[in-house]
């Protein structure tokens, strides 16, 4: 159907300076078992088209789920109407690309396809995981779910470009809560961190039954553990918390549309300004951050963004120096900066804006045991459960599910409610050791919110564990 769609849609191109059609078909399937009971299975199918027109100094879009001839013509009419209205009133007049992309393609490799596994088999697996989660009587709440998303995008424009991409990803979520003296502690696996472009085999290979038992034991141990101490100490941050740290205090502040003020009414601005690129020392020499849309199986791997820009790896921060922003083809025109292929939309019904793709912290040279051994007084922080940062992406406070005290180079007791706070401008200068290739974890989060109208999108982060010196750590009440 899709190739025919591209052929048919070309006939609809209006006579304007530039027009693109972006057709999106999304399929979502969520299977959840909570406390040994199957929740209503969710199947969501969504499709529609966004027509974007740039004409005579104006810009407008029309988006519709009506894919009949009349529906598409109406969407074109709306896009034309808004392009006409906005002519002479735009904060920036976009200059469309002149390049044509022939037969652009990208497909996620699903070794074992989600569709081939029956609902019954998925439910049976989740029931087994539930049993493993409820392995002890003190577990007060438990559950597990699998979420599968498949997004097919077709893009064509008046340059004659023709791009087809199929991205699919899987997200497992396990949760176990334990209660002790009316205090509840929660431990999870998956959730915010473990979404990947991968097949159903990922769920089998991850040995989720053993993982379930581990997090249940962790929750019980945490429920009886003391609160994390309040102190300035070293923090060894595990990959499933590092991704949040990278996301909030590097990814968002480097988004060019924030720097240009588009997000000031909603998601916020940035402490980064245009003069900093090429000069500003963002962190220690060990800090290397890439925009890498080519990392296999990572969540935001693709060959083209939603404006049709070809995607390649570029460094954002190299040896601690800020090199370039996360700005797409059109944003970069506003400031004459280099661009990355980061113009992305949540679906057919929202326009592309500057988004993170895969924002990765490149591996260093330290083994995990070397990092532990180097800590005299510190804490290992695992799995994010709370995040808060100011609208300039500077003052942050993050919480984790589990803290493990490190004393004289050895892991010691577990502590509950570990939190830490800091200031982005200072924090990354305290990066003293970066984990090596063996500890480099490919992770991703499925729900990053931004934009007006609002959009959530999936974002990849790959990172090793990292050691930071002298961090302000504290616990709960």
């Amino acid at each position: 159907m899709k190739n025919e769609f591209l052929k048919q849609i070309s006939a609809y191109f209006p006579s304007v300076d530039y027009c693109s059609f972006r057709f999106v078909n999304k399929y979502t399937n969520i299977v959840s078992v909570t406390r040994n009971v199957l929740e209503p299975i969710e199947i969501l199918e969504d499709e529609g088209v966004m027509v974007t027109i740039i004409h005579n100094g104006g810009y407008g879009y029309g988006a519709s789920s009506d894919l009949t001839r009349e529906g598409i013509l109406k969407a074109i009419e709306e896009a034309k109407k808004w392009a006409e209205y906005s002519s002479g009133k735009l904060v920036h007049v976009p200059h469309p690309p002149s390049m044509r992309t022939d037969d652009g393609k990208y497909f996620t490799h699903e070794k074992d396809s989600w569709a081939k596994e029956s609902n019954k088999d998925k439910v049976d697996y989740l029931m087994q995981i539930n049993k493993s989660l409820k392995s002890k009587p003190t577990i007060s709440n438990w559950g597990a779910s699998f979420r599968y998303n498949k997004i097919e995008t077709l893009f064509t424009d008046t340059n004659g470009s023709d791009i087809r991409q199929n991205i699919s990803y899987i997200l497992p979520q396990l949760v176990a809560c334990a209660e002790y003296k009316k205090q509840i502690q929660t431990r999870t696996f998956g959730g915010h961190a473990h979404a990947r472009q991968i097949g159903y085999n990922f769920l089998r290979d991850s040995d989720l039954i053993t993982k379930a038992e581990q997090i249940a034991n962790d929750a019980i141990e945490l429920s009886m553990a003391p609160n994390c101490p309040d102190s300035k100490m070293d923090a060894l941050i595990a990959p499933d918390q590092m991704i949040l740290q990278i996301h909030e205090s590097i990814g968002h502040p480097l988004e060019l549309d924030r720097i240009l003020g588009d997000e000031r009414n909603y998601a916020g601005s940035s402490f980064v300004n245009l003069d900093m690129f090429g000069e500003y020392k963002y962190g220690s020499d060990k800090l290397n951050i890439s925009f890498n849309p080519n990392q296999e199986s990572e969540l935001a791997t693709y060959n083209y963004d939603d404006d049709g820009t070809a995607a390649t790896k570029k460094y954002l921060i190299k040896d601690g120096i800020l090199e370039r922003p996360i700005g797409g083809f059109y944003s970069s025109q506003r400031v004459n900066q280099d661009y990355v292929a980061c113009s992305r939309a949540t679906s057919w019904n929202r326009p592309p804006i500057d988004r993170m793709g895969n924002i990765n912290l490149e591996p260093g040279e330290s083994s995990f045991s070397e990092m532990i051994a180097s800590v005299e007084d510190g804490i290992l922080l695992e799995t994010n459960n709370s995040w808060s940062i100011d609208d300039y992406r500077n003052k942050f406070q993050f919480g984790c599910e589990k803290g493990t005290v490190i004393k004289n180079g050895e892991l010691k007791s577990v502590t509950k409610n570990p939190n830490y706070r800091g200031i982005t401008k200072e924090f990354w200068h305290n990066l003293s050791m970066v984990g090596d290739e063996t500890s480099f974890s490919i992770l991703g989060t499925a729900n990053c919110g931004k934009g007006e109208p609002n959009q959530t999108i999936f974002v990849g982060h790959a990172t090793p564990p990292c050691l930071f010196r002298e961090i302000d750590i504290f616990g709960g009440e």
Binding site: G60, S65, T68, G71, A75, D262, S388, N417, P453, G476
Partner: protein, 441 residues
């Protein structure tokens, strides 16, 4: 749109087999979105979307649900829906029984229709753009229809349609300090908009003084309704949910168990009648007009979904499966607007809080930051804006022992959120004067 939904539902129900029960939930929206930055247009456009979910269950209490996007073209959509129905029917026998499946079996049809269009977006923008030309304004103007419907194979039909607009915006000064404003209604009025804008401009003038960095510590603060709304919103992350309170993941589980109390002046209702969201649940139950969730500082009633009612053998109050409030209504207090500054005397005036999250969920302790329009108050006067500060405090302190009082005036805050679709949530709240409010960074 209403007739389209009713007609297609009737056709689809003819395909139901004996012992099957089908419930349809309909959502549609036709919206214009005009994004602004630096008082000029950034991205303008139109979105039309129609969707329907089909929930099929059988006598064995097996159930499966599918959500599909529709074209709005009757024959094509009917064909898609019949295919979806057949898929659900095929899959149903392989699924386990759902012990918590509960749908309304008594037919209660309702209809609230607001199909009159009073808004011309281009005319409004023609009025707005010259008025704001000298300002550094950023935000979004959105408007249009929102439709919600329900039909089931027993003959129940519910419909809710609404036409409204929201202009959610901020105005900035040269120091990057800003005031956040919102003008939302069903009918545009130039004078009302100008009053809204002028109030913001007046406040922005006070922000033009050099911002002050305040030390961490405890302050007497006034939280405007929009700042208090952020705290209530965090409390709502499971706080009013029967299930979350039962399993202990609710931030208010100690309040719900009677182990903690709030200040006696705190009463919070779910007031569907006073809000703008539909009064029927996706299961077909009609929501009560008002649910008293907290009364005089004590937890009185949870939001309980039909699923929770079967799991825990309690009565439900037609709450959604998330057991999240949609129309918060907090009782007013006794502090008049002109007494707010004198009540603070020396402290902080906080118009807006931002990016809240829990630092200790068990104890309802949360953190977040000051953002738009926050000032130092000295001797009962606003004296200077403050640089961003982080707070970290517990609900049991802020709305408990440290609550000085609530204002007699309340504001209706309509959620300007547009994730997936335009929100119909709202909150009617007073402001709050709080002592010993903890600033940490």
């Amino acid at each position: 749109m209403r007739d389209y939904f009713e007609n297609i539902a009737q056709k689809l129900f003819k395909h139901i087999q004996k012992d099957e029960f089908l419930i349809l939930n309909f959502d549609a929206e036709v919206s214009n979105f005009v994004r602004l930055n630096k008082a000029k247009i950034r991205q303008p456009g139109n979105v039309k979307q129609i969707s329907m979910s089909l929930s099929l269950s059988n006598r064995d209490k097996r159930n499966l649900k599918s959500y599909v996007r529709l074209n709005g073209s009757f024959d094509k959509d009917l064909s898609t829906l019949i295919k979806t129905l057949n898929y659900l029917r095929r899959e149903l026998p392989d699924l386990p029984k759902d012990p918590y499946l509960l749908f309304s079996k008594s037919v209660q049809s309702t209809e609230v229709s607001d199909d009159k269009k009073y808004i011309n977006d281009e005319e409004n923008l023609d009025y707005i753009l010259p008025k704001i030309a000298s300002l550094d304004l950023v935000g979004i103007y959105s408007s249009g229809y929102i439709y919600t419907g329900l039909a089931n194979s027993l003959g129940q039909f519910n419909w809710h349609s609404d036409y409204s607009f929201s202009f959610d915006y901020s105005i900035y000064n040269e120091n990057n300090n800003a005031i956040k404003l919102n003008y939302s209604s069903k009918k545009w009025n130039n004078e009302e908009f100008e009053t809204n804008l002028d109030q913001g401009i007046k406040k922005l003038k006070i922000l033009s003084q050099s911002p002050r960095t305040i030390p961490k510590g405890e302050y007497t603060v006034y939280l405007e309704p929009s700042a208090l709304n952020e705290i209530i919103d965090m409390m709502s992350w499971g706080g009013f949910s029967y299930k979350a309170n039962k399993i202990g993941t609710s931030p208010l589980h100690l309040l719900s168990k009677g182990e903690k109390t709030l200040h006696a002046s705190v009463s919070i209702d779910e007031n569907i009648k006073g809000g703008i969201s539909a009064n029927f649940s996706s299961d077909g139950f009609i929501k009560p007009d008002v649910i008293n969730m907290i009364k005089d500082g004590e937890f009185t009633e949870s939001l309980t979904s039909p699923r929770s009612s079967l799991e825990y053998s309690v009565a439900h109050n037609a709450s959604s499966i998330s057991e999240y409030p949609y129309s918060i209504d907090m009782r007013a207090g006794a502090i008049d607007d002109d007494a707010i500054l004198s009540t603070i005397n020396n402290g902080l005036y906080i118009s807006n809080l931002w990016y809240l999250n829990f630092s200790d969920r068990n104890n309802a302790r949360m953190t977040g930051l000051t953002r738009f329009g926050c000032f130092v108050v000295e001797n009962g006067q606003l004296t200077a804006p403050i640089n961003t500060m982080r707070f970290d405090d517990s609900v049991y302190s802020m709305l408990g022992e440290n609550l000085i009082g609530l204002t007699s005036n309340r504001e209706l805050l309509i959620d300007s959120g547009t994730y997936e679709e335009r929100s119909t949530s709202s909150a009617r709240l007073p402001g709050a004067v709080v002592d010993n409010f903890k600033m940490t960074l």
